[in-house]
């Protein structure tokens, strides 16, 4: 799915951290966000997911097409892997958890409780949720944290398959995933530097005693 953002300004807390972000992503394309820590990758992804409304600018897509994966895994420790997946499949109305299980080879873990999984296994489980959403745009925040080489490859092929089916993706990551249609976007030029950042905060204009 094609989508684009235009002249976007995003805020974290009460501070505008990014301004003038403009990009477009074509169907089947993956956009890899690069920027130093704290530059606003998570802020941008939360904005794309519709969690934080933008300060200004336009999103030319509906946040309802975005599936978001955050740093946090969003798993319930007391539920089994299968129950965790089935819950999200029901919430997103896709019902069938088989594609997610296949993509991340979770079948041997299905009956285990999430609290007994290793960090990497939890990550796999949480990433497999993306397949269940049935949404066209994947917004992934540091998806490969605590994954080993083998599982990074598994994840890459899941993303590649998603792209081949006409989806698209935005990823914040530091490692090279070897995606065939990846394009890198450096966020550094969009960082809001103190004085000239646009702001909707009326307390910043004009001085008073």
């Amino acid at each position: 799915m094609n989508f684009s953002v235009e002249n976007l300004a995003c805020r974290r807390g009460d501070v505008t951290v990014l301004t003038g972000v403009t990009f477009s992503v074509a169907e089947g394309e993956a956009l890899v966000l690069r920027a130093p820590n704290g530059a606003g990758k998570t802020t941008l992804l939360r904005c794309l997911a519709g969690l934080t409304p933008p300060v200004s600018g336009a999103l030319h897509f509906s946040p309802e097409d975005v599936a978001y994966a955050a740093h946090a895994d969003g798993l319930k420790a007391q539920l089994s892997v299968e129950e965790n997946l089935q819950f999200w499949a029901d919430i997103f109305g896709t019902r069938d958890i088989a594609p997610a299980v296949d993509a991340f080879e979770l079948s041997s873990l299905l009956s285990r409780r999430a609290q007994d999984l290793s960090a990497g296994q939890k990550r796999r489980l949480s990433l497999s949720r993306m397949v269940l959403t049935g949404r066209a745009i994947w917004a992934l925040d540091e998806p490969t944290v605590s994954l080993d080489v083998e599982n990074v490859a598994r994840f890459s092929s899941a993303v590649t398959r998603h792209l081949a089916q006409g989806g698209s993706a935005v990823l914040a990551t530091h490692i090279d995933l070897g995606l065939p249609t990846a394009r890198t976007l450096d966020l550094s030029p969009f960082r809001a530097i103190s004085q000239d950042a646009p702001s909707d905060d009326p307390f910043l204009d004009g001085a008073f005693q």
């Binding site: 939360r46 969690l51 946040p63 975005v66 955050a70 319930k76 539920l79 999200w88 919430i91 109305g93």
Partner: protein, 218 residues
């Protein structure tokens, strides 16, 4: 929609402290009262409906901060907010599961605990009726309080301060219905008010709770 309810109930059972904790607290509270006011059964039977209502209210309060806090900490709430299920529905379901785990067991246990306090038998019916009508409102108001404080590190105490004033009309009409019922006075007005509060809460508070959640997730 049912998925969220099922999951919350499963978690309440497996995590322990769901059904059990509120009820145990209710029991302890009721056992403590005679130690405080003395074993005189006349006094006890007179204050029993009030004690049971206040006890139910406090037991309800006990588990409020868990309604959203756990989902907030492990990231589930972010994901729920981006899911196709509207947050208003999520808030309603959360309140419903909180009621099923606390309000309903409390309502069922209240007559038994009433025996401990020498509650007159004609009060039992009115107590159960008023709790059944009133406790859903307590859960919904509690969900609203939990939604307001979800981002805070120490929301537990603050929830009590925010929610208890909101509980007051429910408590007043609930306890009043039992008192009038016991004295043989008409209870229609009190019960009607109680039902109206619950219906009003069900209609309006999910929107307030969902709005508060969205603001907290920003």
């Amino acid at each position: 929609m049912i998925a969220l309810l099922q999951r919350d109930l499963k978690l309440a059972i497996r995590a322990g402290g769901g059904f059990g904790l509120g009820l145990a607290f209710f029991l302890i509270l009721v056992v403590l009262v005679p130690f405080g006011v003395g074993p005189n059964s006349d006094i006890l039977s007179r204050i029993a409906p009030g004690i049971l209502w206040v006890g139910a209210l406090l037991s309800c309060l006990l588990s409020l901060d868990r309604i959203f806090q756990l989902d907030y900490e492990d990231g589930t709430l972010d994901l729920l907010a981006t899911a196709p299920l509207p947050l208003e529905a999520a808030a309603t379901l959360k309140a419903l599961s909180h009621w099923l785990v606390t309000g309903l067991p409390l309502t069922l246990a209240a007559p038994l605990l009433g025996v401990l306090l020498n509650m007159p038998s004609e009060a039992t019916l009115w107590l159960v009726a008023s709790l059944a009508l009133g406790t859903p409102a307590l859960s919904m108001l509690g969900t609203f309080g939990a939604a307001l404080t979800v981002g805070l590190k120490r929301g537990g105490l603050l929830i009590s301060l925010l929610v208890l004033p909101l509980y007051m009309p429910t408590l007043i009409f609930g306890a009043e219905a039992v008192r009038r019922g016991t004295e043989g006075l008409p209870t229609g007005t009190a019960l009607a008010f109680l039902a109206a509060i619950t219906a009003g809460c069900a209609a309006l508070l999910p929107f307030a709770s969902a709005a508060a959640l969205r603001m907290n997730l920003r």
